[in-house]
Amino acid sequence: MAEKKSLAKEFSKGLIKENPVLRLVLGTCPTLAVSTSVESAIGMGLAATVVLVCSNIVISAMRKVIPSKVRIPAYIVIIAGFVTLVQMLVKAFLPQIDEMLGVYLPLIVVNCIILGRAEAFASKNTVLYSAVDGVGMGVGFTAALLLMGGIRELLGAGSIAGFTVFPEAIPPMTIFVLAPGGFFVFGILIALANKVAERNGKPKAELKGCSACPMASTCSLVGSKEACKEETK
């Protein structure tokens, strides 16, 4: 990755190859919480994208000034500043979106995607690349939210972006707008993304190894050849 960089590549990796939600499994909390409808998914995605791009630019510009020992608090302060800004703007001009997102709007501060990109990308790259990376990741996040929001709203409320699709005779499955439905859709989408990645010879996005299993201490496979094979796959 280090040898050759192109702006187009940095942008497009956030969409599919390193999609923050489905491939890196970051930002799970807002993904599950606000993907109940298309509208709130778009609102959340755009708000996070704006913060992501702004914080990536500022952090990248200041990357040589920030001492590495206190970089995380410094990043958080920068991100929190932009979140406050976005929150005030949304409150002033789009009060409905603010109501819909509720506490998840200020919680963008601790969104793993934003801090993760600051740490993994913006702190090592130039301003322009960081900005493009931010846009790519933000669009990838928004796209994943939109996909989940679309599925959940269609199945859970029988509508898309507020327009009713299902006829009255078919009551929608309420569970999809509730938390368990969010987990169902999220799990199935990650499984599909893994399947596609596997076909292209890419590693899966998952917790690997015996340490993740509660049966590890009693399982006869721990440390055996089969388990190691499974881990190194």
Partner: protein, 338 residues
């Protein structure tokens, strides 16, 4: 296989070899459920048979299709999908629209079972997940109980389940009069199933026949059902301040017997060891009682079994027998090093 036979295979218990196959065991479970099915048809009419058949067929079809799509060897021959289908239908009221049953079967087989690797790998009971998803999605339809023998009259008569009628009893000052005022069916009616409820849960007599058959055929050990129901009985005796009539109603109402006999005992989702079984069953019983007494839902059997299913790996971990002669290692060693 040739590689495995060369070396010593160390595996977790059970180690016994028997002629039992999954198909035989599942067939026994199906036979044990027949009395409850007959009772359901007598009480709620042919519609209950239709729902059961639809549920079974859709479970088998979904199992076949999902194995095919995932390119795994086919397992419909082991009859486990048939058992799941019957249990799912047993957990639904007779008024349930047919297409909702098919959705429930899809959730049970595809999402709860095949996504996790099929039979033996599901971490929760598939039929219960099917029921809970339907319950969260269509609360009105799943709470719409037909009165027994209503199919004989022209108009369908809906009724409340005994547990729903009893919601006010828990906090009542005088339990005895509260039970009398609750307009409950008689204890004999409760036993024979002349009450509102899901298809398979109403007739306690039929379920007990199935229970005895399964125990005699050694398909299930009686530990889990007995400890489960015992825990509920003790908890309700305490909650009911020693009122035995209240305890009897609690034991026969809702899905307790069906859940304890047919769903809590599922091999894949219940502990192997004796101690583990007891912990698991007590947990189920306590959760069921707590949900019934303090929860906002009248019934808690499905949720308590699911919660304990999820805890099974941890219970197993706590109760695994130490091999004979083995010294408690790890922790002591670490301390010595320090």
């Amino acid at each position: 296989m040739s590689e495995i036979t060369k070396k010593l295979v160390v595996s977790a218990s059970p180690h016994f070899r028997a002629k039992d196959t999954t198909t035989k065991i599942m067939l026994d479970v199906i036979i044990a459920m027949i009395p409850a099915l007959v009772a359901a048809v007598i009480l709620f009419g042919v519609r209950s048979l239709v729902l059961t058949v639809v549920s079974v067929i859709s479970c088998v079809v979904f199992e076949y299709l999902s194995r095919k799509v995932m390119k795994r060897h086919n397992t419909i021959g082991d009859l486990s999908a048939v058992v799941t289908g019957m249990l799912l239908a047993f957990n639904l009221p007779s008024t349930m629209p047919v297409w909702m049953v098919i959705i429930g079967a899809f959730v049970a087989i595809v999402i709860a079972k095949q996504f996790f690797g099929g039979i033996g790998n599901n971490f929760v009971n598939p039929a219960l997940i099917g029921r809970i998803v339907l319950m969260a999605s269509y609360p009105t339809q799943i709470g719409n109980f037909e009165a027994p023998f209503a199919y004989k009259t022209v108009d369908a008569v809906t009724t409340a389940t005994p547990l729903a009628q009893m919601t006010g009893v828990y906090s009542a000052e005088n339990l005895g009069t509260a039970i009398d005022n609750a307009n409950l069916p008689s204890l004999l009616d409760m036993f024979f199933g002349v009450k509102g409820g899901c298809l398979g849960e109403v007739c306690i007599l039929a379920l007990l026949i199935g229970f005895v058959y399964l125990v005699i055929r050694k398909v299930i050990s009686p530990v889990i059902p007995l400890v489960y129901m015992g825990t509920v009985a003790v908890a309700m005796l305490i909650a009911g301040k020693g009122n035995f009539e209240f305890v009897a109603y609690q034991l026969m109402a809702g899905g307790l017997v069906l859940g304890a006999v047919f769903m809590a005992t599922d091999y894949t989702t219940s502990p192997v060891s004796f101690k583990g079984k007891i912990i698991y069953a007590i947990g189920c019983g306590l959760l069921t009682s707590l949900i019934r007494i303090f929860g906002s839902l009248p019934e808690g059997v499905s949720f308590s079994i699911i919660i304990m299913n999820i805890l099974v790996p941890h219970i197993e971990h706590l109760t695994t027998a130490r091999p004979f002669g083995e010294v408690k290692e790890k922790k002591n060693k670490k301390e010595e090093v320090k």
